[in-house]
Amino acid sequence: MNNDAPLITVWFFVGVLLLCYGVLIFAGSWYYAANPPAEPVVLANLHIGVWWGLLLVAVGGIYTWKFRPKRAI
């Protein structure tokens, strides 16, 4: 095994996925809140997607940073 190759754990990919989901959900929910449809979902005034998007971005960002590829010792 090459000791110079960076160590990539599955949690890095988990972080990247959560980050991507968070960005998409936040953006989509922000647009949905700014342009509500004629028949919105129940409790749409709570803007759940915006908060969940921010939460996913935060958790995904933490995981991506914490488990970013590092060189093996």
Partner: protein, 228 residues
């Protein structure tokens, strides 16, 4: 519920989670189906001597054919009100009697192999019979088997499961009493009476499972009283 409460972004996330769960369960079930067919039915009963390559090929074909059959059974779901009704009906037919068999096998060392087989078969047949009776003659059989004529589909499934388990246990016990156990069977570690249960006396009260079991039981009784 997803379409009722979730905006498009969260709706997509919820659907992804559902599909991921279905895929994981399906992968496990397909693998188990191929294994059981190849090693528990095909090899011991149909073709006992064949090279490993043959059994690997059989497992692969079994996987493909099993998937095609499962796609076909998906059309059966269209006959039910929802996929939940379909799943609960199947569980009441096959999982409920299996629970009775496993429970008896774990707790009673006297249970014999023929008893396990016939009890499970009787439970499955009984559940299927109850399902067909309530489906094709509901006015007559729903009040009897589900104890009320107003029982919904899921309530009927619950009573199907109950009767299946009861039939399985009764038949297993009766067949056990008229059959002889295998004297060479080593049940150590498999049955409650033949297993050395680790002692918990040295543990503090908060670390003993029996204490938390009692807490859960009390909460269960309180909730049933409140919401009866």
């Amino acid at each position: 519920m997803l379409t009722r409460y979730c905006s498009p972004g969260l709706l997509g996330l919820g659907v992804i989670a559902l599909i991921a769960g279905f895929m994981a369960g399906m992968a496990g079930n397909v693998s188990a189906f191929a294994t059981v067919w190849t090693y528990d039915i095909y090899r011991p009963f149909i073709r006992k001597t064949a090279p490993d390559k043959h059994y690997v090929t059989m497992g692969r074909w079994c996987t493909l054919i099993g998937l095609i059959i499962s796609i076909g059974t998906a059309y059966i779901v269209m006959q039910f009100g929802s996929i939940m009704d379909y799943v609960q009906a199947l569980f009441s037919m096959f999982v409920a009697p299996l629970f009775g068999t496993v429970l008896l096998g774990m707790l009673w060392k006297r249970v014999t192999r023929p008893a396990g087989f016939w009890g499970l078969l009787a439970g499955v047949v009984g559940s299927i019979a109850a399902f067909l009776l309530m489906k094709f003659s509901p006015e007559r059989w729903v009040p009897i088997l589900a104890l009320t004529p107003r029982a919904s589909g899921l309530a009927q499934d619950m009573y199907q499961a109950l009767w299946a388990c009861v039939i399985c246990v009764v038949v297993t016990v009766l067949v056990t009493l008229v059959t002889k156990p295998d004297p060479n069977l080593n049940l150590t570690g498999l049955v409650y009476g033949e297993t050395q249960i680790p002692s918990e006396k040295h543990l503090p009260l908060l670390q003993r499972p029996v204490f938390w079991s009692a807490i859960v039981l009390v909460i269960f009784i309180i909730l049933n009283i409140i919401f009866w």
